[in-house]
Amino acid sequence: MQGTAADRGGFARLWWGYAGLGLILTAGIIITALLMRTPPVPQPVAFNHRKHTGELGLNCEFCHVYVKKSAHAGLPDAQTCTVCHQTPQGTSTEAARVTALLAEGDPLNFNKLFALEPHVFYTHRRHVGIAELECRGCHGDIAETERPPARPLVRIDMDFCVDCHREQGQTLDCNACHR
């Protein structure tokens, strides 16, 4: 046997090498995860769901008009807001801003928060119109929010759908959602 010092030196180099590699990989994973995180969804005004659905008692369909009829629930446009906000409502600064924006002719393009992958075919009509599921089941406490959340409150992935389908005894056929 000879050159143990050299062996030790080699082991140290190897150890440092692996540690460095581990660091690089960890950093890579963290950066990747950050980059892959869905970007925050901006909205034109800070819509207060709680105010509208709770205190004012509007039902979801008032703004999401197609929720029982079509694939997508639909988002309100300036015309919907105009119904009440053409004249100043309440005391909040945001409500005043809405009235001002409407007066300017701003289209108030709301952005979709809960989006499915494009290869998933889901219809609100089937789930809300026919099966009469509650909105809360998939959208969580969106009705309780006071400011628009930047990201979906519920992570809707395939497990989420399949778990519910299993519980409810509904189809598990791949074709039912992928086509």
Partner: protein, 227 residues
Amino acid sequence: MARWGMVIDLDRCTGCAACEVACKSENNIAPVSAGEADMGRATSWMKVMAQVEGEFPDTTMHFYPRPCMHCDNPPCIRVCPVQATYINDEGVVGQIYSRCIGCRYCANACPYMVKYFNWYGPEWAQSERNHLNPDVSVRPAGVIEKCTFCHHRLQKAREDARAEERELREEDYQPACADICPTGAIVFGDLDDPSHRVYSLKEDPRALRIMEDLGTQPKVYYLRPRE
């Protein structure tokens, strides 16, 4: 449980190819360039084949519209390593694009050559995207695609029937090819339901299935020409 199938009357088919184009329009099938077409890469889930026999002036020709046979014993699903292609409870052979890894084993296993591989992503001009059917995926490069019996139409028909609180009727669910056929050569329905036309047509003495001896048990029947 329904068992969906098709009966094609070869005596009525005039080879006009309305079914082919209707299928392409319904299912967002992207055309390929002439060069790609020369390499046999044009996609046609429903394809009208012609079989010619004899020479002038004693020639005969028959047209065979060929969709996916939706075999009860499909060879394609046995070779798929990721279960991207499978047969569902109603006998429809599905292709799940998001699972497909593009190995093309199934395309090689299919004796009817109904599976198509996407060598490139679809090329649609911006304006052309307007006519894409929102009910059906636009397939990316690297996956296999094939006829689905317009399965999305079944889902819509079911939704409609449930919304109207009635049973699903035969005419509610027809694939695009059967819907458009100007001579009514393509008949579609539940092979197990005596009230559907296909139920009795499949028992017609003229009925045959292509390459039945392979044991694939296709659910597309042909009524052979009388003469």
